[in-house]
Subunit: 359 residues, 2 copies
């Protein structure tokens, strides 16, 4: 009897233990996600957000969330990231929204726009000005979530072998400059082209092209353009290029809530960190370029060239807005927000930077 | 025999269960931290980082990390946060490093400095230029960890009832401007004072003071200064004011590793978010001020005034560096980093903002 009672107690204890273990074991389940990057292996600052995000997610989840990263060297499909995440072949991606404009035209607006917002202003738009909702409106129909993935900061206007002194100098200019900015230049008579990164240096050196834009000092140094093109023009076409984390929504929804929050926070902080690191790396790399090649000159496009580019850009935006109601909604939102926030950027940081530069 | 064997099996099962439960229960333990803010209740953007951090920490930890926040209305000791966290009366604080310069002079350098770095540049210094190590060197002897707590962005030079057209106009000027910037102004003959926030409006209205600085549009709108002072001068003295999270190190070290990582990440992302929100709120509030009081004028100090302020500031920094080796190490690090990164800020964002403003 005693033994039986003891046995019963043990059974009861074991049952309680089992009940306690069940949720604990569920909580201890490991979730594994696979992420595809658009970038090749060791691609400077661009390679950092996905890796930092994965590390933070694993540490914050005490190993319950593990994210494996494949670079383009592995999956061989740099511009297949959208499709692979959509199909569930990968759970996540790290890329840039404007790469998908051939498939989904409105994805164009969530990276950067010529004469658009700076990195800080654009984060303001994403997080406090309605940008995140509009981005989700564009990605939702494809079962995808898109969130900011790190900013390059101001991109430079590019490396030129001869000076641009007038709008006429753009006529016939062969320049590697893809996307919307290429269309803007085409309106002014230039011949924009796209060329694979590995062939850019030789194309510029041999005169196949007269000019090219890449990123800015943070990514340009390794490309070596400063060795063969003496003029480095300041930027207008990509004032705050935001990369992108893509997530398969069904997969995301299947994660426990705490891991969803961990994943979202890890992406957000890694994106912000890349933004800061880009500014740092551009400063450091520019110093190194200038030290090694003191003849490199920083140039501003003449005001009449900027005005002509801006006019061509505005015309293209009007066309885009007329073609599609959602495009119009996004363009109106961005234009309105930029107008509001630029006034403050000018009173605040621009006035300060100018006062210190004068002095 | 059978029963005994059964009982033994149950005992063995229970032992296994207990072994499994032990770490699971430890993992489920709830850690409660108390945080003291320097700010009163509902203090605009300043009130957001601690609350967002606490919410993220709780969500990411699935409720295992709970942070209770007391505002200064509760603990009645706005400037006692350093001491209370040091003593373990609170586990954390949200404040600003330069408030402690009376106790620990070198804490001055980790908020913002006159003619110093912008928010983005300073984050570069903190995270990629050695700033975090130097800050820890200052706080470690007090058993404290200090990390960035959110940036106000450019602070305005203040509200003035009459224009400043020359260095002579600063002579005898009664201005509310605390800290290092007050010392800079004093060198040029001004009479800097500090006045409790609640009395600022009346002091300016009655002419007890001629001018005052507070923050920028994000925080100034609610104070109403734009109703009684027509000139809003652009900034020089606090180009990127970073708030601070303080943590009692012993308490932090007692947390499990995953919760440490969650806490650190929640603080970091909340700080970045406040930086973006400040820029947004300043833009919005400036728009509202200007709409309500169209006569408010934004003014730049004349270049000769800026030059004189800069000279006085440089002299004070030389004195500070001569007085203490760690102060010298910090000043040298900041000065060197700012020189490196400002070149890029000027080529990148400043050139872009200027080109768009011209056009």
């Amino acid at each position: 009897m005693l033994k039986l009672t003891f046995a019963r107690k043990l059974i009861a204890a074991a049952a309680v233990a089992a009940a306690v273990i069940a949720p604990a074991q569920a909580a201890e389940k490991t979730y594994r996600l696979k992420l595809a990057e658009t970038w090749p292996t060791n691609f400077g600052v661009f390679s950092h957000p996905a890796r930092e995000m994965a590390q933070l997610a694993e540490q914050m989840s005490n190993g319950r969330l593990k994210i494996e990263i494949d670079t383009a060297n592995k999956h061989k499909s740099a511009f297949g990231v959208f499709d692979m995440v959509r199909a569930g072949q990968y759970d996540m991606g790290h890329s840039a929204s404007y790469y998908w404009k051939g498939k989904v035209p409105n994805t164009l607006f969530f990276t950067t726009m010529p004469f658009g917002m700076t990195a800080t202003e654009q984060y303001g738009w994403f997080y406090f000005g309605g940008g995140m909702d509009l981005m989700q409106k564009v990605y939702e129909p494809f079962g995808l979530i898109s969130v900011p993935g790190g900013n390059t900061g101001m991109q430079m206007g590019g490396w030129f072998r001869k000076e641009i002194n007038s709008v006429e100098d753009l006529n016939g200019l062969k320049m590697r400059i893809p996307g919307f900015a290429g269309e803007v230049l085409a309106k002014l008579g230039a011949s924009p082209t796209n060329i694979a990164p590995g062939e850019l240096y030789t194309s510029l050196e041999r005169g196949t092209i007269d000019a090219l834009e890449w990123v800015g000092p943070s990514m340009d140094l390794r490309m070596g353009f400063h060795k063969i093109a003496p003029y480095y023009y300041t930027g207008w076409h990509e004032p705050g290029t935001e990369l992108q984390f893509l997530i398969n929504k069904k997969k995301f929804d299947s994660l426990p809530e705490d891991l969803q929050k961990i994943l979202m926070t890890a992406m957000k902080v890694s994106a912000y960190n890349m933004t800061i690191e880009s500014h740092h790396a551009s400063a450091e790399n520019w110093f190194n370029m200038k030290t090694e090649f003191p003849d490199v000159q920083v140039k501003n496009f003449p005001p009449e060239v900027i005005a002509a580019l801006k006019k061509a850009n505005d015309e293209l935006l009007v066309e885009a807005a007329a073609a599609d109601p959602l495009a119009k909604e996004i363009i109106d939102s961005q234009t309105g927000y930029q107008k509001l926030i630029r006034v403050w950027t000018d009173i605040g940081e621009r006035a300060y930077l100018n006062s210190m530069a004068e002095e």
